[in-house]
């Protein structure tokens, strides 16, 4: 019943404890700011270094950055819209569909997976 | 037929003659009309008369059924093995030349005699067997009732 052991950070593996700062307030923020800084550096680098392209459009300044950002944003928004059309309840195809296998939370007494 | 004295005596006399005649027909088969088939039938007549006049049990004492069976096989094998012998000698099956390659004519004679002997034995045995088969079915009435 490892899933249900009392939550004691001392029982975590060393490596797991090393990452615990992620959960602390500000942890996520730190990650985000790192990302912003990296992005800024990359924009700078785009003008500093020579880059060779096969297509004319690649010559456009920070083309890849713009492409990456806007296409992904568009993709995510698109998915949100599409979800309205595509979403169906879990037992849509069959009452025994794979999506319906009980999750650990749903099974109070989960069998031991180490068996 | 114990009371038919004449029949019994005459039969005893005749059986020897019949057998002798059968042998005559048998061994003249290669020269004159006759041969194993006829001789076999005649020979079987000797046994059949004996069993008719004396009794099936007596006849079967002389010539037990199992022995007759073997005789059938022996006769047939005699025939077939003569042929096989000629094959071993390097001739065609049943080519009697093989029996005496130096003198084919005598080989032919001997070959035919062997063959006919085989036929004779088998026919005798078969005839007797057929008679036994019919005669050994339960008799409808016994001799005294005639």
């Amino acid at each position: 019943m490892d899933n249900r052991t009392p939550d004691n950070a001392d029982t975590y593996p060393a490596l797991g404890r090393a990452f615990l700062w992620l959960d602390r307030p500000g942890g996520a923020k730190a990650v985000r700011y790192t990302l912003f800084i990296l992005c800024a550096l990359l924009i700078v680098a785009d003008f500093v270094f020579y880059k060779k392209g096969y297509l004319p459009i690649e010559e456009f300044p920070i083309f890849y950055a713009l492409f990456g950002f806007f296409s992904c944003a568009a993709l995510l928004i698109c998915s949100v819209v599409m979800r309205v059309i595509l979403e169906r309840p879990r037992d849509y195809y069959a009452p025994t569909d794979g999506a319906l296998e009980p999750s650990p939370q749903e099974q109070a007494a989960k069998v031991d997976h180490h068996a | 037929m114990r009371h038919h004295l004449i029949l019994r005596v005459v039969t005893k006399l005749l059986i020897g003659v019949i057998m002798l005649f059968a042998l005559y027909v048998q061994f003249h088969g290669d020269y004159s009309p006759g041969g194993g088939f006829q001789a076999g039938v005649i020979m079987s007549v000797a046994f059949i008369i004996y069993s008719v006049v004396f009794s099936l049990a007596d006849a079967q004492k002389v010539l037990p059924p199992w022995f007759v069976h073997k005789l059938m096989a022996v006769g047939l094998l005699l025939y077939a093995l003569t042929g096989v012998y000629s094959m071993f000698a390097g001739y065609n099956y049943l080519d009697y030349d093989a029996i005496n390659p130096e003198h084919p004519v005598s080989g032919q004679h001997n070959g035919i005699i062997l063959i006919e002997l085989g036929v004779g034995i088998t026919v005798t045995a078969v005839m007797v067997t057929i008679f036994y088969a019919f005669a050994s079915r339960t008799p409808p009435m016994d001799d005294e009732a005639w």
């Binding site: 975590y12 990359l42 950002f69 595509l86 997976h113 | -």
Partner: protein, 565 residues
């Protein structure tokens, strides 16, 4: 000694021996050793058609060894070794035997020098692999396996039909490059396409992978689709149509992957998307592009397996791989999380990771050929792929919100094999020359130019930026425990409905048939029974006299006919 025996037979032999061995580590060891032996044998194989067999008048080439087939066979041996190590804990005879047969069939298919042999192994992979799905032993996996089998066998049947047409048209069964100019090659193309998961033919993959067992998914992901890539590279290299199919295949799964809740399905979508890259590479058909496609298949197996292994380990410990049920487990499974990140980085083509060196080959080739739209699609797929597989999978599996799950770290052998695979991914990424050396064609390509690294990082990090910015808002599609309609709706719902409609006239027909049965048919059967049944004259004992009478009649008639004519 081993070149006299087709490599596939090594696996078949092992599959025969395995059930004799006692249940336990000995069997696992066998599963592990065979790929090593096979791999060494393949490595040492000379080039040429090594083994031939006669079959119904055909000469079958069981072992066509050339650079192309060898690299795939080698890849399959490595994948079989990794999969075998991952399944070390397995005590399931069915899965172990199926695994060996499946790998053997895949390697056999790769070495098949003619279409007939290819067909046999093609069906062999289908039939053996379905047991990896059924081995889950749940009702859902049974139906999923049936769908998988139907589609795979369907591919085999089309292949067979194509082969027959091809043979009757050309008189040859050799498996060489083909052009799409006859029904035969079209049939073969579509058969390959089903296995390769072309757009709209891809749903079996999404459906089947997550339905298999923890270990089965890892194995499944490595062989079937890559075998199809091999077949396409061999048969249809340079087919222009493939470029467009590839571009579409690369873009199509993005939205569904975004919406999907089951992370193993997400990975399946992501792998499907990578297939698209390979199609493009094969379609372009230049040596650079082909090399790219093959290299991508090679590393694709590695990171595909790695991702499925990490999710498999999670599933092994928690029993689920759904985003809504997971989260926060990096605390207790940190190594697994780390390896997952390596896999995610590899599939997203981060510099220094495996995907980078192969994907750039293909994109460069597309750009060189000035396929503007295709190039754009591939770029979109790169960015979107990173979004789903590089960010979504590790994030929702290991980080995200902290659930109550505190699973133990994955078992030792799983950690070992995940680590090994992760190292391979990094090695391939940092040491591209070694990877390129394996490829069939000589390339002089340098993925690590400053410009290239910068543009790639721009693409990826700005995608991450979009993710980071939108995640807290409602514009991000958070996973929901729901089903999303995909193309499989067509055959799982629409077709069923159509059959329902079709059933109405059929039912009418049978009603009419019933009425017919009750009336005229019954009378007919009664008459037949009266004429021919056991009580009838024809089948009763005839008296001997009657028979003799018939003889006399027949003789009379015959005499009459022969005299009269």
């Amino acid at each position: 000694m081993l070149d006299a025996l087709p490599t596939a037979f090594l696996f078949f032999l092992a599959a025969l021996i395995l059930p004799i061995l006692p249940r336990g580590p000995l069997r696992s060891l066998l599963v592990l050793i065979v790929p090593v032996v096979a791999g060494l044998a393949v490595y040492a194989l000379p080039m040429g058609n090594l083994v031939q067999a006669e079959f119904f008048g055909f000469t079958l080439d069981l072992m066509r060894v050339d650079p192309l087939s060898r690299v795939f066979a080698l890849l399959f041996c490595i994948a079989a070794f990794l999969g075998g190590l991952f399944a070390w804990h397995l005590r399931d005879t069915v899965q172990q035997v199926a695994m060996l047969l499946y790998v053997g069939a895949a390697i056999g298919a790769v070495f098949a020098g003619d279409l007939v042999t290819l067909f046999f192994y093609w069906e062999g992979t289908a039939i053996s692999s379905v047991f990896l799905i059924w081995a889950r032993r749940s009702e859902a996996s049974y139906f999923s396996g049936m769908r998988y089998l139907t589609i795979q066998i369907g591919s085999g049947v089309m292949l067979l039909a194509g082969i027959i047409l091809h043979y009757s048209a050309t008189g040859s069964i050799a498996f060489d490059a083909m052009t799409l100019d006859s029904p035969a090659s079209w049939l073969i193309f579509i058969a390959f396409g089903i296995k390769a998961a072309f757009i709209l033919l891809n749903n079996w993959m999404i459906d089947a992978y997550p339905s298999a067992t923890v270990t089965g998914t890892v194995i499944l992901s490595a062989f079937t689709t890559k075998l199809a890539i091999y077949a396409l590279a061999r048969g249809f290299a340079g087919t222009e149509l493939l470029i467009y199919i590839g571009a579409a295949t690369a873009v199509y799964p993005l939205i569904w992957a975004q919406l999907e809740n089951d992370l193993r399905r997400v990975v399946a979508y992501a792998l499907n998307l990578q297939q698209g890259f390979m199609f493009v590479g094969i379609g372009i058909g230049t040596e650079l592009a082909l090399n790219g496609a093959i290299a991508h298949a090679f590393v694709g197996v590695l990171y595909g397996m790695l991702l499925f292994m990490t999710l498999g380990a999670v599933m092994y410990r928690t029993g689920t791989s759904r985003a809504t049920d997971l989260g926060g487990i990096y605390k207790t499974m940190p190594l697994t999380a780390l390896f997952c990140l390596v896999g995610a980085a590899s599939i997203s083509a981060f510099p220094l990771f495996a995907g980078f060196v192969s994907k750039s080959l293909i994109i460069s080739a597309a750009a060189k050929g000035s396929h503007y739209v295709v190039w754009g699609c591939l770029l979109l797929a790169s960015a979107g792929g990173f979004l789903v597989c590089g960010l979504k999978v590790p994030f929702f599996a290991f980080f995200s919100k902290d659930g109550s799950l505190r699973p133990r770290e994955a078992p030792g052998h799983m950690l070992l094999v995940m680590g090994l695979t992760a190292v391979l991914c990094v090695l391939a990424g940092t040491n591209p020359t070694a990877l390129y050396a394996l490829l069939p064609y000589d390339v002089s390509y340098q993925p690590y130019s400053t410009g290239h690294i910068i543009t790639q990082l721009q693409l990826l990090l700005f995608s991450a930026l979009a993710f980071a910015l939108l995640l807290p808002t409602r514009l991000y599609p958070r996973p929901n425990p729901t089903v999303n309609l995909d193309f499989d709706w067509v055959y799982r719902r629409l077709l069923l409905g159509a059959i329902g409609l079709l059933a109405i006239p059929v039912r009418g027909f049978f009603r009419a048939l019933d009425r017919f049965k009750a009336g005229p048919l019954k009378a007919l059967i009664r008459t037949l029974y009266n004429t021919y049944g056991p009580m009838a004259r024809t089948s009763q004992f005839w008296p001997t006299g009657a028979m003799v009478l018939w003889i006399a009649i027949l003789l009379g008639v015959t005499l009459l006919v022969s005299y009269a004519s």
